[in-house]
């Protein structure tokens, strides 16, 4: 018997009991569709996170105070490792480390912005002129924070694109006055000097405003530490494109250790690559987890196919005897039953893939409350894997029933009712 004859015969068996075959295939359809949907969701989340990270630029290094060492050193004393300070930034800049393109401090607070009848919740970043280059963007109109603004601790502000739209829906924001209310304790009036280009997507920068770091230090007392220096939350370094990030990171580390006068670093330097790797690990595990859950439903589908094939063998015992009498070998019988299971699983698999893809395509239209819309990324790999898996599901769930069928004694089979 050729494989084509076996497929032909399998089709005839399958369509002779359409309801039963349909329900059996349904198990596989649901299993395969859920594998596609959940794996694609995992991939979608992975891509979203990746995009958000790479949108920041891959040449960035983040220096943060190391939590581990924060209790060492003289409590409250200079270089105690408690925090990073603005003078660290200045000293790092004046060290002229090769491979470093720009260094900027970052302090951020959530605040309330009010302009006329409009108000909005925004993240306020205190930083320096270098920052605009570090986040690799430009202003849409006006200008970013200037060195003069920093030197004079000016009450000047640059708006993120979305903030500008919300506060000034039909006016040019440049030259207007924005009220900034911080922790309900501080209330300042800022002159808008620039508006940032939109970054698109859900980028945080679009929902932020930027003011000189010195203004922030000067007006908000508790940022100052006992030495009179100013704590910054993190220092961001943009390296040149063509340099080894590892090398730059090491150089910065050496310099900062000197500045802090410590042997062991009391800070951490995280590169974008490390962030990406860490996030990939998390999203990879998530995808695997989601895939495994879907795999369970596929397993249930496989058991269903195997079960129905066993029932078929029992029902068709006499037929198997007849086929043996007209010359079918054991192998022919095995081939027929395995092909039948395979056909059910592959048809179910293909339908499941199609349904899975349709669900994925419509998933991005569904939003869940305030959360960002889910996005599912159907990768060719997941489609191929789903197809191959349904092939093996058919093979495995058909194997034992087929073996049972082929090992039937032809005489016993013919005598059965």
């Amino acid at each position: 018997m050729s494989i084509f004859d076996a497929i032909n015969f399998a089709f005839r068996s399958i369509i002779s009991t359409p309801l039963r075959s349909g329900l059996t295939a349904l198990g596989v359809i649901v299993g395969v569709a859920s594998v596609i949907v959940l794996v694609s969701l995992g991939q979608g989340i992975k891509k979203q996170v990746e995009d958000e990270i790479t949108a920041l630029g891959t040449n960035l290094l983040f220096i943060t105070a190391s939590s581990e060492d924060s209790t060492t050193g003289v409590q409250g004393g200079r270089n105690s490792g408690l925090s990073l300070t603005l003078s660290d930034v200045e000293k790092l800049i004046s060290s002229n480390i090769s491979g470093v393109r720009n260094i900027a401090p970052q302090i951020d607070f959530p605040a309330q912005l009010i302009a006329g009848n409009y108000n909005v919740e925004a993240t306020v970043f205190g930083t320096t002129p270098e920052y605009i280059d570090i986040i690799s963007t430009e202003t849409l109109s006006g200008e970013f924070i200037t060195q003069k603004d920093v030197d004079t601790k000016a009450l000047r502000m640059v708006l993120g694109s979305e903030i500008a739209k919300t506060l000034y829906p039909d006016q040019e924001p440049i030259g207007k006055i924005v009220r900034l209310s911080l922790f309900n304790r501080f209330d300042f009036r800022f002159l808008v000097t620039g508006v940032m280009k939109p970054k698109g997507g859900q980028d945080d920068d679009d929902f932020s405003v930027f003011i000189p770091v010195s203004t922030m230090q000067n007006r908000i007392g508790f940022l100052r530490n006992p030495t009179g220096d100013v704590n910054v939350f993190r220092i961001i370094v943009r390296s040149e494109d063509d340099v080894e990030k590892e090398l730059v990171s090491n150089k910065i580390s050496e310099n900062l250790k000197l500045i802090h006068n410590v042997d062991k670093p009391d800070f951490e330097i995280t590169s974008m690559d490390q962030l990406l790797e860490a996030s990939n690990q998390v999203t990879g595990a998530l995808t695997l987890f989601l895939g495994s859950i879907a795999g369970i439903s596929l397993l249930v589908g496989a058991i269903g196919v195997g079960n129905i094939m066993l029932v078929s063998v029992t029902e068709r015992t006499r037929e198997i005897g007849t086929l043996r009498s007209i010359g079918a070998t054991k192998f022919d019988i095995r081939l027929q039953f395995v092909t039948e299971a395979l056909t059910i699983c592959l048809l179910g698999g293909i339908l499941g893939i199609i349904i899975g893809i349709i669900i994925c395509l419509n998933l991005s239209d569904i939003s869940f409350g305030d959360a960002e819309n889910l996005s599912a990324v159907v990768t060719p790999t997941s489609v191929i894997v789903a197809f191959v898996v349904s092939f093996f599901v058919g093979l495995i769930s058909g194997a034992y029933p087929a073996y049972r069928a082929s090992e039937l004694d032809p005489i016993e089979a013919l005598r059965s009712e």
Binding site: R12, R324, S325, I326, G327, T329, K330, D332, L414
Partner: protein, 217 residues
Amino acid sequence: MIELQKVSKIFDTGFNQVHALSEVNLKLSQGEFVAIKGPSGSGKSTMMNIIGLLDRPTQGKYILANNDVSTMNDKIRSKIRGKVFGFVFQSYNLIPRLSAVRQVEMPLMYRKDKDRRKKSIVALSKIGLGERIFHSPVELSGGEQQRVSIARALVGEPKIILADEPTGALDTKTGEEIIGIFKNLSEEGITVIMITHDNSVAKNATRIIEMKDGMIV
């Protein structure tokens, strides 16, 4: 062409042993039309199944066309079975979901015969069913179903037809038509071995074998 030498068959049911055949000796030559008679349980079907390679003797030798087939492996026996024998059963044993023409093609499918559609139609026409080749078993009468099963037995051009009570489920007239077909086949040189309880059926044969208690009497 067929030679059974001291063939015995013992069925071990677990709690007792049934001696279905006891040292049966039998020689049949090409073109014979043999009727096997005997009471129920006398071993007729058992002997026929051994001849048709569906079963193996517990003891003794089975020589088919000068070959000892009792010790051959299952695969070779299956191939010989499909090539040399054509089975006709009392209850037709058709596959319910296949049309007559596909039904008859089945033996050729296992032999990977490319001409099977043509041969199937020829076999059905020969048996008087040329008009109903696309009917499924439920759409056919008992006599027509038995004709389909005879066409299926004939399509592979077998040397030997094995029919276990082929008229058992048919009325007298339809039965006679079926026997007529077997007679023609044996005249064409095909060996026909037929089990029957009916003396009027048996008298058509060229040779009658009586069985009792697993032995030929």
